[in-house]
């Protein structure tokens, strides 16, 4: 039995049947990290001793472990963890230790799960390849010359490489789904407001959501069960009854109405990706769903709208990293202004600075109406068009990304091309909707292709069931696995 290849629900089953114990599981993961981290480079911080101590503590307190007790997890490094560095993969926060736990971390700890480490990302979650990390470039476990996607590239790569059984990521414009797609794992961006943002270092407050990255859909539902729910510390989190998402996994899509927007299959899409997605749509039809092509023409404005709103909010959110308190501070300065300028110039990477400048510009007087205000209007139009679609359909099927994972270094100097990788995912954040990415196939070079299923607000159950049904049908994990090609 290879422990690290098991999903969390499989681990739970084995623990229940006394075939495995929490210590064996933890050791297996620590060994796996030891073996693979030098190739994959997924971690900013590995909690080797800490995780062992934590497990011992739990075992002392409780005689018998159950549910999630002792189950390891990886956490993206922009989610605050008390007493452990939270760097956002930035020089700015290289030595920042949070004095508090994010609300999702509190939930993880309440369930006695063990944090294995903090996972690499694009600096402040800005990027789509994890190449913009200040510390290291994470590699794609399927091919070490390729990017894992981003910004939650460390999380997706660690799950794909079996270095963690599952992980938390964050998604502002596709940062969970796109790396999940590139790494052949499952990633869910929940409805805006379903999961508390308290303790997630803000990139774009009206778009950010924390979500699960897992090996399969059942694990995704399990982790969502833990992190979803109202939090009085986040007034944008919704007060709804808790749901057991695993109950939605019915392995049945009969009568489900699926819309396929043609705009997501047009210009710029890789032909292999396109044909595999079309195949996927046919499989849904075979499974008893109806699939219809629709037009979602407002989507073409989504990318511009997204970059205006996200950068505007980021320019304000990142102002607190000013060299005064917990951040990097420049060595020499003559006055306050120079302290600010030099600390921020030296502490932030190029992509972060690019977005701060862009965001500052679109909020400036004289430009506000033409950019920010207009973008907000388009945002309403995007929401309305999605609403119309969901009046008729249960979900929307698209590629997660127009391409498979690209070569490291191939786009990192071309921001516009990098932004285009987000084209299929950003409208979901603009509209505040839930969406999942699951692996459906591999291309001719063996790189995974992801399918995105978008649901109506708070219809996570619908997309989880649709994803689960597809997963049961094609059994991707049984056919393909990362080979660490170099």
């Amino acid at each position: 039995m290879n422990i690290t290849e098991l999903t969390v629900h499989e681990l739970q089953e084995k623990i229940k049947n006394k075939e495995l114990n929490a210590k064996e599981i933890l050791n297996a993961y620590l060994d796996r990290i030891q073996a693979r981290e030098k190739d994959v480079q997924a971690f900013v911080t590995i909690l080797k001793e800490e995780s062992k101590n934590e497990l011992e503590k739990i075992q002392k307190e409780k005689e018998e472990l159950n549910d999630f007790d002792g189950i390891p997890i990886g956490v993206k490094d922009n989610i605050c963890t008390k007493g452990i560095k939270t760097t956002c993969s930035s020089k700015m926060l290289e030595n920042f230790i949070s004095p508090y736990d994010a609300s999702v971390i509190e939930k993880i700890k309440e369930n006695n799960m063990i944090i294995l480490g903090k996972l690499n990302m694009d600096e402040f979650a800005m990027g789509g390849s994890t190449e913009y990390s200040y510390f290291k470039k994470t590699k794609n476990p399927w091919n070490l010359n390729k990017v894992p996607g981003g910004s939650s590239g460390g999380s997706a790569a660690a799950v794909a490489a079996n270095m963690v059984p599952w992980a938390l990521g964050s998604d502002t414009g596709g940062s969970i789904r796109q790396p999940a797609s590139f790494c052949g794992v499952v990633g869910l961006k929940p409805t805006y407001g379903l999961v508390s943002r308290y303790g997630l270092v803000a990139f774009a407050s009206s778009l950010d959501q924390i979500g699960p990255i897992t090996k399969d859909v059942r694990d995704c539902a399990l982790l969502l069960n833990i992190i979803a729910g109202h939090d009085e510390k986040d007034t944008t989190s919704c007060n709804r009854n808790n749901i057991d998402y695993t109950k939605a996994l019915k392995n049945d899509v009969k009568g489900m109405k699926i819309a396929v927007p043609k705009e997501f299959f047009a210009e710029g899409i890789n032909q292999e990706v396109k044909s595999k997605l079309e195949e996927a749509a046919k499989i849904y039809e075979e499974l008893g769903a109806t699939v219809e092509e629709i037009s979602l023409d407002i989507a073409k404005y989504s990318l511009a709208t997204y970059y205006i709103i996200a950068c505007a909010e980021a320019s304000s959110n990142l102002g607190r990293f000013d060299g005064i308190r917990y951040t990097y501070r420049t060595k020499e300065f003559k006055n306050l202004k120079e302290l600010y300028r030099k600390s921020r110039s030296e502490g932030f990477g190029a992509e972060v600075k690019r977005r701060i400048i862009l965001g500052t510009y679109v909020l400036s007087s004289g430009y506000y109406d033409a950019y920010y205000k207009k973008a907000q209007k388009v945002r309403t139009l995007v929401m309305n068009q999605f609403k119309e679609v969901f009046n008729k359909y249960d979900l929307i099927l698209t590629p997660t990304s127009p391409t498979v994972a690209f070569d490291i270094g191939s786009k990192s100097n071309n921001p516009l091309e990098m932004y285009l990788a987000d084209i299929c995912t950003v409208s979901v954040n603009i509209a505040g909707l839930p969406a999942i990415s699951i692996p459906i196939n591999v291309d001719s070079q063996g790189m995974p292709i992801g399918m995105q299923l978008i649901g109506n607000k708070f219809c996570e159950e619908t997309i989880l069931n649709a994803a689960y049904t597809y997963e049961q049908k094609i059994k991707f994990r049984e056919k393909y696995r990362p080979e660490f090609k170099s």
Binding site: K233, T235, L363, S365
Partner: protein, 478 residues
């Protein structure tokens, strides 16, 4: 052109700290004067990942202030971010309100030299206070204290309706008393919980267009506000008279040198890049909510004043002084309940208490004794247990070390001597010592009696009953 040909135009932006127990976006206490950074948490220190949660009391207090100043209350309001860099602003933005303030289009009525005038209130909005920088405390550098960061404020913006320093002062005093009455702010100017920025411009009399304005900050007393405005009006007229133009700028008033200075240290261009605060949901108020607050508004100074004129027959002037401060007014009413003598309480407040407040430069809210103690003092005076001169001493003692007046006079031995035999002895002793005065009196110089009574008072340290003294002297010198 002569100075009299110019007219000054003023508008005020008043920041008042709300007296809620906790801060506007977290549950830290708002108490003034604690050790630096002891009233802070990850939220008001702007640690990464933290989020604000709006304190509902802040909305309630602001709505109260709006209703008390005749404003329209917006049922649909929101918060916005005002972005700028300064070390006392840990998030690098202040959560404020930009285009949808909670309250709009109100007014308050002021009176100057018997003329009543309505001063328009443009808007009242809620926002958070910044922290404080303590300069050069540990030999160079600045230290940031974030205790004040996140203390709730309302900003009350007036129309440019004010034309003189007298009007400005009347407006500020009226506004301050309203906020005190509705108990939303304690308005302590020295502690900075009531601060005013003044916009000043001048124009030729008869002009309908406003002149270019300057904004003056850092004035923390009525006196410095008046001085600052007077200085700035003169400065602007000088500029114009010398053929120059007034520049729109922010000025800092320096109380020591009595001058204004240009202040451009925050950021060169003031573009605050306001945008809606995405971390907070919109503020939606129901008609019922607003009505409920309206129903609980306490009696305002205007109505109290009217009542004092009718019920207690106070003079217009006295009623105005007493109602100018909620604390004085509460003291007045509380003391009357105890002693049932409005006239006497009024006199004590108008003469002695006002004098002591003025001399010691403290505000009515800081009066250390309570209305019960004041009422008891009046009873002691009324019963003749103490003389009015002892009464003043008891009052001073109440300011020093407040306790029951009965206890004070017992302890100090200040009880009035009203025993006829004892008084007669004293009178005889004084007469023996002052034969010349007796002779003067007898030759028709009435003033000599006053001198003799004075001597007897001195002898008894003010404790002798003055009526009895008078009576005895007259009897003895018959």
């Amino acid at each position: 052109m002569a100075r009299e040909d110019y007219e000054a135009v003023m508008g005020l932006e008043v920041h008042s700290e709300l007296s809620t127990k906790t801060k506007i976006f977290c549950s830290c206490p708002t108490k003034f004067g604690a050790e630096p950074n002891t009233q802070t948490c990850p939220i008001c220190m702007a640690m990464p990942g933290t989020l604000p949660v709006l304190n509902e009391k802040v909305v309630e207090y602001a709505v109260k202030a709006g209703l008390a100043t005749n404003c329209k209350i917006s049922r649909d309001s929101k918060n916005d971010r005002k972005n700028y860099f300064y070390p006392d602003l840990p998030k690098s933005y202040q959560i404020s309100q930009y285009d949808k303030p909670l309250c709009e289009k109100g007014y308050i009525e002021i009176e100057v030299n018997g003329n009543k005038k309505k001063i328009g209130i443009t808007r009242i909005h809620i926002e958070e206070d910044a922290g404080k920088l303590n300069h050069d405390e540990l030999g160079g550098g600045s230290l940031v204290d974030l205790n004040r960061a996140g203390v709730p404020l309302i900003e009350i913006v007036s129309e440019p309706d004010l034309r003189s320093t007298e009007e400005v002062e009347a407006y500020l005093k009226k506004l301050k008393s309203i906020l005190e009455y509705i108990e939303v702010s304690d308005c302590k100017m020295q502690e900075g919980s009531f601060r005013a920025d003044v916009n000043v411009s001048v124009r030729k009399k008869g002009d309908t267009k406003l002149g270019t304005r300057t904004e003056m900050k850092n004035m923390n007393s009525f006196r410095s506000i008046t001085r600052g405005i007077e200085y700035e009006i003169e400065r602007q007229i000088d500029v114009l008279e010398n053929g120059g133009t007034v520049e729109q700028e922010t000025l800092r008033w320096d109380d020591v040198s009595g001058r204004t200075f240009s202040m451009r240290d925050k950021e060169d261009a003031q573009d605050y890049r306001y945008f809606p605060e995405p971390d907070l949901v919109a503020i939606k108020l129901s008609e019922e909510y607003i009505q409920n607050i309206k129903n609980t508004l306490p009696e305002l100074p205007e109505s109290r004043k009217k009542r004092y004129l009718e019920e207690y027959k106070l003079s217009e002037k006295d009623a105005k002084i007493i109602t100018s401060s909620k604390y004085l007014s509460d003291l007045f009413e509380g003391a009357i309940k105890v002693c049932k003598n409005p006239k006497a309480v009024n006199n004590l407040i108008i003469s002695d208490i006002s004098r002591i407040l003025h001399e010691t430069e403290i505000e009515p809210i800081e009066i250390p004794f309570d209305s019960n103690q004041l009422g008891k003092l009046v009873i002691l005076l009324d019963k003749g247990t103490i003389s009015s001169s002892i009464g003043k001493k008891v009052l001073e003692e109440l300011f020093e070390n407040p306790r029951d007046p009965e206890e004070i006079i017992q302890e100090k031995g200040w009880i009035q001597i009203s025993d006829e035999g004892q008084i007669r002895q004293i009178v005889q002793k004084i007469l023996e010592k002052n034969p010349q005065s007796v002779a003067d009196y007898k030759s028709g110089k009435d003033r000599a009696l006053g001198f003799l009574v004075g001597q007897a008072m001195k002898e008894t340290k003010g404790k002798a009953n003055p009526q009895l003294l008078n009576k005895m002297f007259l009897e003895e010198m018959k």
